[in-house]
């Protein structure tokens, strides 16, 4: 057995070029898996930092109108008596707005003990399960402040005549928020101790124990799982929502991580095709050896062990290289992308999960690919027709279910994409068989005919590599179309959100003064004031944007009339969450309004509601204008180029005068913001583009190996052509033609597959993940570059030189 293993290892040394190229391909596949994992881990870690501490360990939030302490304790009693065994924690929470130094801040109070925060000894110091700073949370008058408030640790402040101390600062982008014990929060909010906003619970479903492990395996993977189900009795009695609804940006990010994870897996799938192809070719090169061994009485199992041993060694080498490359690649990709999240600085250290994943990927691909190739070659395994039909039917069903059944979530969406890909691979085989008889009737010059026929006559040699190329190109097209469609929507969103030429923010008093002053300036056409306040609609946390919305402003949102006082516009995310559309009535901050239009929120971090100023005042909510949108007569000529602060780069006219009078205001040129937003957008998707390019590179390697193998089998033909006086240039042309024909075949399938995948991404996955439907567009920039790249990749694979190796001479012996 060891001799056989040795002989296989030596075979690898006798085909160094072939082995090296295969090693490169597999290394890239493993590197992709590692890079994605590391990027995702970094982003996930940042996401945890941005998760409000009171929600970290919770799965759902419960409330009902008039919720108070009595309701909470009643629920708690029933829980303690074992009525809801799925629930492992219940936490009362109060939330509201208080004024701190003239500024509206959110105050959140929770029973921290119920969250698993426990006292450690008599000192009163608390250790935390959830990563909170070690503070004395039970002490009176202590709060945690989010960094945006600008408060320092140990700083004291007064609210409603009472003094409070900042026990710690949360370095996370949580907005202007104070966290406190529930009793302290009641004080800050001047609420009765009976008042509660909602109750948090932690539901441990059958997936619970798996979620943590799955998140370690692939950060963001749990986004593809269904949310844990709340006990039915609770769902009837209470208004229930998953915590994810209150963390839309985190959900958004987790969905992106899931998508990234899927893309990383794509590269590995392509690498599997590569290894399978390589194994088939190497087995064929050793056909003579295998038959001789068979004559000597060596059984297939014995040869297989030796063969797989050599592949395992190969796989381990690729794994080691892939880990190093992946770690480096993740650093590059992280720098390339801002992703709009909190800081993701550098790559995390290599942990046991990512190393384990790399080993399983590299080794697994080699073992499984080698075994599959061996089965095919040794036992001449072919898919019987009935099995092929059954498989086709199964895949079609998977496509339909994944796309049509919303409950299947992200996993269902991606399962339908995977099924589409496998259907395309099967269709490729059929296509090659169909084209062969057609190619026999080709006309034209003999070398042309030869080149075109070469592309379809050897499906067993190049079929797998062609499938890998098709998959890589299709994914590139799908991502390209999705990103371009997304971009067009994004630009539309910017048009909606970034109306006007100038945008000013500041304290309400200064804003009010600035408004009056601006309205008197000759350069100014119009000044619109607006404000934003947090509230609830249909039980969901929302952002209420208020202003005097005239018809002109409403048109930006797709509604052609001025907004009445009993009317609202809601974003698509909220519409999906509450199941409300145009014509429905919706409860907002205690009042009832008619939804007149649903506008594309483009995955707004918090669902938005547009409501008139008068309505917000009627609801008794705080209405101050803290922002102005200014339209200028001559555009931005009078305004400094540099954003965002006034006082820099002064220009003449309006900019000078604004700075002189209102130095504290934050001024932004809309074009600068738009440009920055688009830059962030492009950089975000740079990671996905890089991953698809990686998959394409692996496919090129596979194609190269397959075409090299084809060239070997055509040795006698090449010898003949050389004798017939066919020049090297003509032979090169023949290779090029064959490669282009192969590339063309791949593209024939890749384009419809890519469009189908893009449709699923835009119409199925994007709404499920991000809460809005992207209108699929077909700009040339979305599909043409990947097509051309695929063609170029095939050409490159066919024209790269293929040195003759000792292993080939053995085969000829």
């Amino acid at each position: 057995m060891m001799l056989l293993a040795k002989s296989q290892m030596r075979f690898l040394l006798r085909v160094p070029w072939s082995a090296l190229t295969a090693l490169v391909g597999l290394t890239l596949g493993v590197a992709s898996v590692v890079a994605v994992h590391q990027i995702s881990t970094g982003v996930d870690s940042s996401l945890r930092d941005t998760t409000p501490p009171h929600l970290t360990e919770l799965s759902h939030l419960l409330d009902f109108p008039g919720l108070d302490a009595e309701g909470y304790f009643s629920l708690r009693r029933r829980w303690r008596l074992g009525e809801y065994p799925e629930i492992s924690a219940i936490v009362p929470i109060v939330e509201g707005q208080a004024i701190l130094a003239g500024r509206s801040v959110t105050v959140i109070g929770a029973d921290w003990l119920a969250l698993g925060i426990r006292s450690a000894g008599g000192s009163g110091a608390i250790t935390s399960d959830v990563g909170l700073p070690v503070i004395d949370m039970l002490a009176e008058s202590q709060v945690l402040a989010a960094v945006e408030l600008g408060l320092a640790e140990d700083q004291r402040f007064t609210v409603n005549g009472r003094k409070y101390a900042v026990a710690g600062v949360l370095e996370a982008n949580l907005g202007p928020v104070l966290f406190a014990d529930i009793g302290v929060a009641h004080e800050l909010l001047q609420l009765s101790p009976q008042t509660l906003s909602y109750i948090g619970i932690r539901v441990e479903d059958s997936w619970f124990s798996w979620r943590a492990a799955m998140e370690q395996l692939m950060p963001g993977l749990s986004a593809g799982l269904p949310d844990p189900a709340v006990p039915e009795a609770l769902a009837i009695e209470w208004a229930v929502r998953p915590v994810a609804y209150d963390l839309p940006s985190a959900s958004f990010a987790r969905s992106v991580l899931f998508n990234l994870g899927a893309l990383g897996s794509l590269a590995l799938v392509v690498a599997w095709f590569l290894i399978y192809q390589v194994a088939v070719i190497w087995l064929r090169r050793q056909q003579l050896l295998i038959s001789r061994l068979g004559a000597l009485g060596v059984g297939p199992g014995e040869f297989l062990v030796g063969f797989l041993f050599s592949f395992a060694v190969f796989g381990l080498m690729a794994t080691a290289l892939g880990i190093a490359l992946g770690q480096a690649l993740s650093g590059v990709l992280v720098r390339l992308s801002t992703a709009g999240y909190s800081d993701v600085a550098g790559s995390p250290e290599l942990g046991p999960w990512v190393v384990g994943k790399a080993v399983v990927s590299g080794l697994g691909v080699c073992i499984v690919g080698g075994w599959a190739a061996f089965s095919r070659e040794w036992f001449d395994f072919r898919l019987r027709r009935w099995l092929a039909l059954l498989l086709t039917a199964f895949l079609v069903a998977l496509v339909v279910i994944g796309a049509a059944v919303e409950a299947s979530g992200l996993l269902g969406g991606f399962a339908s994409i995977l099924a589409l890909s496998l259907l395309a691979v099967m269709a490729l085989t059929v296509l090659l068989r169909l084209f062969r008889p057609l190619s026999e009737h080709l006309g034209g010059r003999v070398l042309l005919r030869m080149g075109l026929r070469d592309a379809v006559w050897y499906p067993r040699v190049i079929g797998v590599a062609l499938a890998a190329l098709t998959l890589a190109v299709a994914t590139s097209i799908a991502i390209g179309l999705m990103v371009e469609s997304f971009r067009l929507d994004f630009v539309r969103m910017l048009d909606i959100r970034l109306a006007g030429d100038l945008y000013l923010r500041g304290e309400p008093l200064e804003i009010s003064q600035a408004r009056r002053w601006l309205e008197a300036q000759p350069e100014v056409v119009r000044v619109r004031a607006s404000g934003v306040v947090r509230g609830r609609a249909g039980g969901r946390p929302v952002e209420l944007s208020y202003a005097d919305y005239d018809a002109g402003q409403m048109q930006r949102y797709g509604y052609n009339k001025a907004l009445g006082d009993s009317q609202i516009l809601i974003s698509e995310r909220l519409s999906r969450q509450v199941g409300a559309g145009a014509g429905d009535l919706l409860e907002v901050a205690g009042g009832e309004f008619e939804v007149v239009h649903v506008f594309p929120g483009f995955g707004d971090p918090v669902p938005r509601v547009l409501v008139s100023l008068a309505a917000v005042r009627e609801l008794g909510l705080t209405t101050v204008f803290d922002r102005l949108t200014v339209e200028l007569r001559d555009g931005l000529n009078g305004v400094p180029q540099q954003v965002p602060q006034l006082g820099r780069q002064l220009g003449p006219l309006l900019g000078d005068r604004l700075k002189d009078r209102f130095a504290a205001l934050n001024l932004q040129r809309r074009d600068g913001v738009r440009k920055l937003a688009l830059q962030i957008f492009d950089r975000t998707f740079a990671v996905t583009q890089a991953l698809t390019l990686l998959a394409m590179a692996i496919a090129v390697v596979g194609m190269y190996i397959a075409l090299t193998a084809l060239r070997l089998t055509q040795g006698p033909t090449l010898q003949l052509l050389s004798f017939q006086g066919v020049t090297p240039r003509e032979l090169l042309g023949l290779s090029a033609l064959r490669s282009l024909a192969l590339g063309g075949l791949a593209l024939l399938l890749a384009l419809p597959l890519g469009i189908a995948m893009a449709w699923v991404l835009c119409r199925i996955i994007n709404p499920r993940a991000f809460g809005w439907t992207v209108e699929l567009q077909f700009p040339l920039s979305g599909w043409l570059p990947p097509l051309l790249l695929g063609l170029f990749a095939a050409l490159l694979a066919g024209l790269l030189p293929a040195p003759r190796e000792k292993g080939d001479l053995d085969a000829a012996a």
């Binding site: 003999v446 003949l720 090297p728």
Partner: protein, 221 residues
């Protein structure tokens, strides 16, 4: 008889590890139109090397190879790679031991390959007539995988002669055939070469074939 090919003082050696092995040492040969010369000797004695040198696929270490064609003298041994390729294309035909038919071309297309490469559509009709004379007209649309060994070699012969070359080189053309087919193939080759008034150099270790040649040149190890 006019001279077709003149080889003078040909020398060729190969590096075998560190040892230089001389395969051809001062070999000379003259071939006339319509003549058949057999190269006879054991494997590795230099027969194929000589054929490849004449075909211009290899360069000699020393010596001259001159092909007389259409009142020109082509000094093959001094030509560039491209020039030699052009000479081969137009003036030479080659019959391989293992047929070397193009698997993606049918019999007709294989035979017409040299005609198309030379862009001599005027030679297509006689080439196809030759196909018929070789008993292959019923196989025109078949592909090499559908033919027997003898049919493949006859196709290869038809291809080698399609463009009416001045010189035909055959390297063990019967090496892969049974005795009956070998005899038949040799008969056909002789007949067609003489009909075209071309010259034929055939490498063989089959003495019965060598005996039928006009001259035999023996190679020793």
């Amino acid at each position: 008889m006019s001279t077709l090919l003149a080889i003078e003082g040909l020398r060729k050696a190969y590096l075998d590890g560190r040892i230089k092995r001389r395969v051809l040492d001062d070999t000379s040969l003259t071939l006339h139109a319509g003549e058949v010369v057999a190269l006879c000797g054991p494997s590795g004695s230099g027969k194929t090397t000589l054929l490849n040198l004449v075909a211009g696929l290899l360069e000699p270490d020393q010596g001259r190879i001159v092909l007389h064609v259409e009142a020109q003298q082509l000094l093959i041994s001094d030509m560039s790679v491209a020039e030699r390729a052009r000479v081969r294309r137009r003036h030479m035909g080659y019959v391989f031991q293992f047929f070397n038919l193009v698997p993606t071309l049918n019999v007709r297309e294989n035979v017409l390959l040299p005609v198309e490469l030379n862009r001599r559509s005027d030679l297509a009709v006689p080439a196809l007539a030759r196909l018929s004379a070789l008993g292959l007209d019923s196989h025109e649309r078949q592909y090499p995988e559908q033919l027997s060994g003898g049919e493949r070699q006859r196709t290869a012969i038809a291809r080698a002669l399609a463009h009416e070359p001045t010189l035909v080189l055959a390297d063990e053309p019967t090496g892969n055939l049974d005795a009956e087919n070998a005899h038949r193939v040799v008969e056909l080759l002789w007949r067609e070469v003489r009909a075209l008034n071309s010259g034929l150099i055939i490498a063989t270790h089959d003495e019965s074939i060598a005996a039928r040649a006009d001259r035999v040149i023996r190679f020793s190890q």
